[in-house]
Subunit: 189 residues, 2 copies
Amino acid sequence: MANEAENQNHTIAVLVENKFGVLARIAGLFSGRGFNIDSLSVGETLDPTISRMTIVTKGDAAIIEQVIKQLHKLIDVIKVIDLTGEDYVDRELVLLKVNAEPAVRAEVLRIADIFRAKVVDVTPTTYTLEATGDQKKIEAIIELLKPYGIQELVRTGKVAIARGSKAIRKRDEEKIRGVREQKVVGFYD
Amino acid sequence: MANEAENQNHTIAVLVENKFGVLARIAGLFSGRGFNIDSLSVGETLDPTISRMTIVTKGDAAIIEQVIKQLHKLIDVIKVIDLTGEDYVDRELVLLKVNAEPAVRAEVLRIADIFRAKVVDVTPTTYTLEATGDQKKIEAIIELLKPYGIQELVRTGKVAIARGSKAIRKRDEEKIRGVREQKVVGFYD
């Protein structure tokens, strides 16, 4: 049981003010509790003063809950959502530099085609492929290309968005940042 | 001139041991010098004990160089490469929840088609799109969809890989981690 709980994957979305130091404080909160961050991605939202992080970590649910409560208390953290129990779509992008000697080129391209990966760079001896999908798909293409020789591999880490028409961003801005100029027109609420 | 230097974008690839605390230390190094990290993504490499980070930051070239030197000195940092001056391919993935009321649905799908974005979730009032590309392409699709109402937006941050057949990973493992079991067969070197 303990092991099961420890191995549970958590996907957490965090909206933060786009200021320096925020990332270090958030990363510190996880490492201070002994959590490794398996993947993390940070990018701007529509409002360039706000960034959105997606954090994937493994751990005991009760301790994760504590970490989330502490995240909430951090200055510059606007919203924290544990997507783990929710129904969400997740995607990841990977760039792969794969061996493409003449003998294996056709088979590498065939695998790329099956996974709808795009060739984004070519040399006489390598292809660089771009593939997207959920974690399982990304891992499947990596496994299939391994025998041909993967020379380099960069993953973005997972990003996730809840299914359905609910949006994290708007409710949030209304609630926490007060009424502000809405750059975006939304009709659903 | 000073402004120009300050506004220069830097794309830095960092190979690190996949241990807790590494991310916090690296983020702290940037924030301690007053650098904001514009985007960051971290994911596993082929070797699950090694992660690769892609950091995008703006700043004076001389100070960035100092930060890179300090990164090198951090324990658990295996390799740091400033891709800024190099020829590289960069990609980013974005998930967008867009308003899709009947009146705008056709136009939203048309824009998605032009950018080869995929619809990954549908509700009666929203589409969730997945789009990939370099920064300019991602920003273009966001700009075009804005008038229809973007309800939520998550970006992975940029990942980058050098063009050509050189690979960061292998040379690195050979040099720094010594001879170890090579899971990957590469023919080019």
